[in-house]
């Protein structure tokens, strides 16, 4: 099951930088991220090419990090494509807790990363709607 990393982030100068420094020092590539904050603190989600190594190295630096299951769906880079995916998911009662996207190399398609840690049924739903779900190694190294 693919996963991304969820990292606690104090809302202070240099904190995000510290996390990126760890990734950089261990030659870990960041493909996408999203950040949510609630005043003095927040959480950043990181999609990287070697999540286990990133997890271990961040832990060593006493950074608070945890793994969250994800699914990545390829959609066309055209108007309405994401809407289409969301509509199909919500028709089946699947709520998305957290998501972000990034453009794939061909420029014609994009990957949408959906956090499904608390939605074990999401995998089956994605299959049912014939979504183009990326394999685990493709997610990390597209």
């Amino acid at each position: 099951m693919p996963f991304h990393l969820s990292v606690f982030l104090e809302n202070k100068p240099g904190r995000l930088e510290k996390i990126m420094k760890v990734l950089s020092e261990h030659k870990i590539n960041l493909s996408a991220m999203s950040l949510a904050s609630a005043g003095n603190f927040g959480v950043v989600k990181l999609l990287v090419d070697d999540p286990q190594k990133a997890f271990d190295e961040l832990k060593k630096q006493k950074i608070t990090v945890t793994k969250r299951k994800i699914a990545a769906v390829v959609i066309g880079n055209v108007p309405g494509a994401f809407y289409d995916l969301l509509r199909k998911l919500s028709d089946r009662g699947t709520n998305i807790e957290d998501c972000y996207g990034f453009l794939l190399n061909d420029g014609k398609t994009a990957a949408i990363v959906l956090e499904i840690e608390n939605q074990p049924e999401a995998e089956k739903v994605l299959k049912d709607i014939d979504a183009n779900v990326l394999d685990e190694d493709k997610i990390y190294n597209y």
Binding site: S6, F8, E10, F41, V43, T64, R68, E97
Partner: protein
């Protein structure tokens, strides 16, 4: 069972007779000091112990004002040791000891440790600070008097602490409660489970106010018994009062001090069971007798007899210090109320600080808590829920609405000396 059975279990009326005799002796000795020669010049021998209430109080300011020798009641040649408070502003409080003072202090410290279950075959590791602070040396000599092999390791360096515990089979430890929690986490990081890998049986905890919740947590983490202690350098140091096996209040050694509880505002003596400021008279000190010393510690005398058989009365866990009290928008709060609340929320880490600031003429209370690595599930939603939960509980405990925020683990000041938790940023 007892270190000194006869005195520890004497009928209370006998103890009072002894106290009267020792108090009268103390008054005569005290009169030899510059300070008490004036203060007590019209005081004659007391006829009953209640007359102690006619004697004047001694305050911390008196001790400071008497720097350096106004309280000394013997020739300097008789003095063998000096202890001193950290005087950040003004004169420090200096306390002198004769050889006999050190012996009687070591004796009551041994009595405390014995009451908690320590015996001569135990291995004692003293993680308190040595030096001017009385926490280290006080129990050091008490442990040696009891006959334990004593490891005078001093504070800090958790890996080294653990190494000594492993290699010498330490069974008893004198430790700050806040440091006990940190030490456990250091052990855990190194893959050591104190319950299985160490031989620890007893922790003597003290030197900072702490809650019953924290004591229970320490006991569970290490799988041992943790005993609360009370003492203050102005009287001698640790060992003035100590928990017995019942772990329900601390026996205050009434052949060493006479305890009273007063209302800190009216200075009226309160009956047993009522909470107020603890006042102590040291009746077994030579170099520097202190009479009716206002400790500024808030507690009460517990009236019931103790199942352990000791007849010396007990005092309740220290609720706080009269000068620790924070006034937030007119509401009185003690730091220990905040600690208690945080201890009761298992998802919250136990490392926190309290900040008081002023904004638009209103006091603002902030509690910053280190993120709990183990409880972090990766969602902002759950962090916000926890923040809200802590804020609600704090509000119901203190009556003040605090702002809770989380900070990175390991970023709050390390609690290797006394943990400084309260930062008052208001303009004085």
């Amino acid at each position: 069972m007892f270190w000194q059975k006869e005195i520890e279990t004497a009928p209370h009326s006998e103890i009072q007779k002894l106290q009267l005799r020792m108090l009268n002796d103390t008054i005569e000795r005290a009169k030899k000091s510059k300070f008490y020669s004036k203060k007590l010049q019209n005081v004659n021998q007391l006829k009953n112990i209640e007359q102690i209430q006619e004697l004047p109080f001694t305050t911390k300011e008196d001790l400071r004002g008497g720097f350096p020798y106004d309280f000394l009641a013997v020739d300097l040649g008789e003095v063998v040791r000096l202890h001193s408070s950290s005087g950040t502003t003004g004169n420090p409080t200096v306390v002198y000891h004769t050889a006999q003072d050190l012996q009687s202090w070591a004796n009551i410290s041994a009595r405390c440790m014995y009451a908690a279950g320590a015996r001569k075959n135990d291995i004692f590791q003293n993680t308190m600070g040595y030096g001017l602070f009385t926490g280290g040396l006080g129990f050091h000599y008490g442990a040696e008097r009891l006959g334990m092999m004593t490891i005078p390791i001093g504070p800090g360096n958790s890996k080294r602490q653990t190494w000594f515990m492993q290699n010498f089979g330490t069974t008893t430890v004198h430790i700050l409660p806040s440091y006990a929690v940190r030490l456990y986490h250091s052990m855990k990081e190194d893959g050591i489970d104190p319950k299985k890998d160490l031989k620890l049986k007893i922790f003597f905890i003290g030197a900072e106010p702490h809650t019953e919740e924290l004591r229970r947590e320490i006991q569970e983490l290490y799988g041992l018994k943790a005993f609360n202690s009370y003492g203050l350098s102005e009287i001698s140091g640790p060992g003035v009062a100590f928990e017995c096996g019942e772990q329900d209040g601390m026996h205050i050694w009434e052949d060493f001090v006479i305890p009273e509880i007063i209302d800190p505002d009216t200075l009226e003596v309160l009956p047993d069971g009522q909470e107020g400021e603890l006042v102590l008279t040291a009746i077994n000190r030579r170099a520097m007798p202190v009479i009716r010393y206002r400790t500024r510690d808030l507690t009460k005398i517990l009236p019931s007899p103790c199942a352990c058989g000791r007849t010396h009365r007990k005092i309740a866990r220290i609720k706080g210090r009269t000068d620790d009290m924070m006034i937030i928008n007119g509401v009185n709060i003690f730091p220990i109320q905040i600690e208690k609340t945080i201890m009761n929320i298992p998802e919250a880490s136990k490392n926190y600080i309290i900040e008081i600031a002023e904004k638009n003429y209103m006091d603002k209370l902030s509690v910053k808590i280190e993120i709990n690595d183990e409880a972090f599930d990766g969602t902002l939603e759950d962090l916000e829920k926890l923040k809200h939960k802590i804020e609600t509980e704090l509000k119901s405990e203190t009556g003040v609405s605090p702002i809770v925020s989380f900070v990175d683990q390991g970023t709050l000041p390390a609690a290797e000396g006394k943990a400084k938790r309260v930062y008052d940023l208001r303009k004085k």
